[in-house]
């Protein structure tokens, strides 16, 4: 991957943007701040596809509950449809908290959830529902759910 320092990147942003759209991401380095990558959202979506969700559905006596281990959130409803809607709301809530709450984003039990948060951010509600309930494709990919205690 092409690497370039921050000042040069600022001057060449239009070219770097075009390159990113053309599937050529650029690593941008800034002294003392670290590195970031300019990548197209399509490529990022593809990279993040391997971070699958694995909601667990519980049919309780008078309700349906769903536990989502990747974000450690739960949802419930009188039936599956309302529980599913609640889950999408919960994921959106978590994504918003992650973006606005430095303490949460940097917490050791939350920071590893960033890829799932980023993936959810890139999806609209319909796409998010499909992603949440998609059949697993990468069982042997080696990705693990963030540690729970």
């Amino acid at each position: 991957m092409t690497a370039i320092n921050y000042s040069l990147a600022r001057d060449a942003l239009a070219d770097l943007f075009d390159a990113a759209i053309d599937h050529l991401p650029t690593q941008i380095e800034r002294r003392r701040s670290g590195e970031a990558v300019l990548i197209s959202s399509d490529d990022l979506r593809n990279v993040l596809e391997r971070h699958e969700f694995s909601p667990q559905v519980y049919f309780e006596a008078e309700a349906v509950s769903i536990w989502l281990p990747e974000l450690a959130v739960w949802a419930d409803g009188d039936d599956l449809v309302t529980a599913k809607d609640d889950l999408i709301g919960e994921v959106r809530q978590y994504v918003e908290e992650f973006a606005s709450d430095d303490r949460l984003r940097r917490a050791p039990n939350h920071r590893d959830r960033a890829p799932w948060v980023l993936r959810a951010r890139l999806l609209d509600d319909e796409e998010l529902e499909a992603a949440l309930f998609a059949e697993p494709q990468y069982e042997t990919s080696g990705f693990t759910v963030p540690a729970e205690r």
Partner: protein
């Protein structure tokens, strides 16, 4: 059974839990909750939510997840902190039922054509078997469809 009233009492009484803003308002159900966080000395942050329908009961399996993964507490501590109104801690069951994967539930309803009560009645093993049967049936039908006919 435990209700959200007891969960809220626990969060109000236990040390360190603070209410945080609700950011999913406007959604049909996502905004109907109080949100709480607790910062731990090791930097970790616990978070949970409470339904505003305080009398609503929390299913035992869901309660198990909340206690274990969100509050990081025991049934006994939860009962004592949430005011100890006499419920036997042993009456609260931690999760001991295998959950059904979300994708499998959706496949059985939207692809196989079962309705929700039918899926609800299945064990995990039966649900997986129903999905395998469906896939097998499709494979056999596809084989018949592509086999050349004899005259």
């Amino acid at each position: 059974m435990t209700s959200f009233r007891e969960l809220k009492a626990y969060l109000d009484n236990a040390i360190g839990w603070e209410e945080v803003p609700n950011r999913s308002r406007g959604r049909s159900r996502g905004g109907d909750h109080w949100r709480y966080q607790k910062a731990l000395p090791d930097g970790r942050v616990l978070r949970t939510k409470v339904s505003r329908s305080l009398n609503k009961e929390i299913g035992p399996i869901l309660l198990g997840h909340i206690l274990r993964h969100q509050l990081e507490t025991t049934v006994e501590e939860f009962q004592a902190t949430s005011s100890g109104q006499g419920e036997d801690p042993r009456a609260v069951r931690m999760p001991d039922v295998e959950p059904m994967p979300g994708w499998l539930v959706m496949r059985l309803i939207h692809t196989v054509g079962l309705d929700e009560p039918a899926v609800r009645a299945l064990t995990l093993a039966d649900a997986l078997a129903a999905w395998d049967d469906y896939i097998m049936r499709l494979a056999v039908e596809a084989q018949h469809a592509t086999r050349p006919r004899r005259r």
